[in-house]
Symmetry: C2
Subunit: 282 residues, 2 copies
């Protein structure tokens, strides 16, 4: 199975997990809003949970809570981002706040976040503690996205985006019973998250007018004085090489190795494909 | 020392803990906003931590992390409430969102909440898990405050307000090394929290025009068809009696017993005194 097929399959499994999770909410209105917030995700982050868990020899079903919790946290963070950015469109439809009001979305998110942490606690207390920390990092990253210095660009990206890539990679060490590789997996997740966000910012720099750039995309533009292309190419290559080195240090099952190696390109081409600027820098 | 003196003292200790906590933030802007959000609280909830911890034989310094974390969570939840209510004034000054924008306040809160959970984790993993649950309850309560049925009034109050009274009471079982009383302490915290919110809603009903009532105060008004006074008197008496029963089942140090028994009246008279309607129903 190639990575694209793997992703289609895991995305569909995750959609089922999300549906089951929502059916179990006791409160109708919480369920409706949660459903709206969690609709139609690409489920990349949850897919990482399946990939790493499988590669380390874990049973597929052991990955379910981690994949579900990762996607709950990601969806909640997007719903909050849309409020603060006044973005009216998300995933092709009205943003949740534009449908349900800020007030309700803030509190549904505040409900979803600890609910996801509860789901994670099946992996034990250490997993829970690290998850709380990673979630804190995403909040610090969101702040740095707003007022961080241009020189801190990579640190901003690590915090705001890579934290939710580190999460499933970290959890897979527990789900597969291979917690001795915890640190390596966190690093690998970080590499993928940085690649994802740097390419995302690159896409923004290419497709948007300079004046309209915000957050980390603006930081990337300023940091490189508008010459972001070579910087992005360099970072992409650095992080990809580092990531491959980490993979080589892990006892991965052979049938997963190619898919894991393909991930950086898969994420990068996915983002560029969406934006119609395929292969512009690679 | 009577309860008023105890409160003045613990409030000042908590203010020092908050200041120390803020000084340790590495990020200047996060520190400034956190400071604004945490300013000038009454520190009632943190004071509960000192009272219960001391009453159960815990060293005072064992209560510090719990009192600090409780006040961080409480302040963050107020900052979010003000955004969703469009309240422009909090603690006699502009609400945080009106100074720093919604965007920043949402993310500072999202930073403060897991930071508080980290502080709590010194009491062990069970304390952390229960805290995550209680914080989830506050979010569900905030939702019920908006669209809950009038008949669910007490349940709404338990979730939205009593959760952050249960928190310090619960943590004191760990800080004092008396975790066998965990459930009783949670119940005692719940009683105090319900009393606090019912009186708070009563104050709203008395001081505001019927049309301006919102949330749980409106639910109280509707549930009792405007005859809230006898209902409030009844609930106050029920919960106070229940609370006293719980205190009698706990091995409390004698010098703390009177202060703990005085808490329901202290909270109720405090709220009514603030609003200038002292002793109207008791």
């Amino acid at each position: 199975m190639d990575l694209m097929e793997f992703w289609f399959r895991s995305r569909s499994v995750i959609d089922d997990l999300v549906e089951k999770f929502l059916r179990e909410s006791r409160d109708w209105e919480v369920m409706e809003m949660s459903k709206y917030i969690m609709r139609d995700g690409k489920r990349f982050r949850g897919t990482l949970m399946f990939l790493f868990n499988g590669a380390l020899g874990g049973e597929e079903k052991e990955a379910y809570p981690g994949a579900l919790a990762t996607e709950i946290l990601h969806s909640a963070s997007l719903a909050l981002d849309d409020i603060v950015d006044y973005d009216e469109i998300r995933r092709g439809m009205k943003a949740a706040w534009a449908v349900y009001t800020n007030r309700k979305v803030i509190f549904v998110s505040n409900y979803l976040i600890p609910t996801a942490l509860n789901v994670i606690s099946v992996y034990g207390d250490k997993a829970l503690r690290i998850s709380v920390d990673l979630w804190k990092d995403t909040a610090v990253g969101a702040l740095k996205d707003m007022y961080g210095k241009d020189e801190d660009y990579i640190r901003t990206v690590e915090l705001k985006t890579a934290s939710l890539f580190k999460l499933p990679a970290m959890l897979s060490s527990f789900s597969s019973g291979q917690s001795q590789y915890l640190d390596t997996l966190m690093e690998a997740g970080k590499d993928l998250g940085v690649i994802y966000q740097v390419i995302d910012d690159y896409v923004d720099c290419v497709t948007q007018e300079k004046e309209k750039l915000v957050g980390s995309a603006k930081q990337l533009y300023n940091l490189t004085s508008g010459k972001y292309e070579s910087f992005v190419r360099l970072k992409y290559s650095e992080y990809k090489t580092h990531y491959e080195g980490l993979l080589n240090s892990l006892p991965l099952k052979e049938e997963y190795r190619d898919q894991l190696i393909a991930l950086p390109d898969f994420l990068a081409f996915g983002l560029m494909g969406e934006a119609g600027i395929k292969n512009k820098i690679f």
